[in-house]
């Protein structure tokens, strides 16, 4: 049943497949992010309690959700890399990490800029904020570990193990607002009940979440292709692709 998937284990084939997806993800990201951001900033009604400061939600929530989504993606790739020893999976772990770190950084920074006017403080050491900060350190750890070894097979394995160990942090981040007393509000959309946010505010938010997801898709594939080329640079197919010659 899954046999059609096998040819893509060839580096050359996965390089091409990844390349075919990049323009679609890029177009989706540009479209969703521009429409979602303009809608959120200009047309969404302001909040009855928070006024216009609530518009920070349109970057804060997508970045926060995708910082966890990217981590889960990275950890699944790490699991595949460790169990089935697929080189492309290791490379994908390294490709996702810097983008996830960027999202986490955005979530923390916009959270601080939202916390100051609403809570009266840029930062508190409560469960949600601290666990998200730990997520940033996990990403930085994965990046540092992958870059610490010249032997990239060893580097990939180490980074995969760290990314798997760090998964424990994801439920802690998500449930932190229920398990502990915190300044941070509870979930508005990522729950099973009806979202506790009006649809006029929700639509641009959903657009930006999809946009951040597509951004992650496009950039992780671009970085995946670069790292794959780097690891395979002595192989004839890379030479042929970049130099137009079959001779090494």
């Amino acid at each position: 049943m899954w046999k059609w998937l096998h040819p893509y284990a060839k580096p050359e084939a996965s390089f091409r497949l990844a390349g075919a997806f990049v323009p679609w993800f890029t177009a989706l990201a540009v479209l969703c992010l521009s429409v979602g951001t303009v809608w959120g900033l200009l047309f969404a009604p302001s909040d009855y309690q928070q006024g216009d400061s609530f518009r920070i939600i349109y970057v804060h929530v997508p970045a926060a959700i995708l910082s966890m989504g990217a981590y889960l993606t990275m950890a699944i790739a790490g699991f595949i890399a460790l169990v089935w020893q697929i080189k492309q999976s290791e490379i994908f772990v390294a490709a996702v990490a810097p983008i996830g770190a960027g999202f986490t950084f955005i979530a923390l920074l916009t959270g601080a800029a939202w916390g100051k006017p609403m809570w009266g403080t840029w930062w508190v050491w409560d469960a949600r904020l601290t666990s998200e900060l730990i997520l940033l350190f996990l990403y930085l750890g994965v990046i540092a570990l992958y870059n610490a070894f010249d032997d990239k097979a060893l580097a990939g394995r180490s980074a995969s193990i760290l990314s798997l160990v760090g998964v424990i942090n994801l439920p802690i981040i998500h449930y932190s607002v229920e398990w502990w007393n915190t300044l941070h509000q509870g979930a508005s959309i990522t729950k099973f009940a009806k979202p506790s946010i009006d649809s006029a505010m929700l639509w641009p938010l959903l657009l930006n979440i999809v946009g951040f997801g597509a951004f992650l898709g496009a950039l992780s594939l671009v970085r995946f292709r670069t790292e794959l080329l780097k690891r395979e640079q002595r192989r004839p197919w890379v030479r042929q692709l970049l130099l137009g010659t079959g001779e090494a």
Binding site: T37, L41, L42, F43, A44, P45, S46, G51, D52, S53, R55, I56, V59, H60, A63, P98, I99, G102, F105, I106, L109, T110, A113, W114, K116, P117, F215, L219, V222, R223, R225, T226, L229, K230, Q233, V238, R239, L242, L243
Partner: protein, 68 residues
Amino acid sequence: MQFDSFSDFVAMGGYGFYVWLSFGCTLLTLGAVVVDSIFKRQALTRSITQLKAKQDRMLAAREVKERL
């Protein structure tokens, strides 16, 4: 449209500094990731091309030496 004028829009009901700080930093961070990704790819292409040129030169030099 929620705002009557451009200055109204920039002011964001008094929260302008925090809103624009958030959106500005987001744009900068996403932009940095994009630039880094493109730059890395270009640097790799350059280094592979240079390596190939170096190998070609070494090969050519060896051929000259053998002929002497």
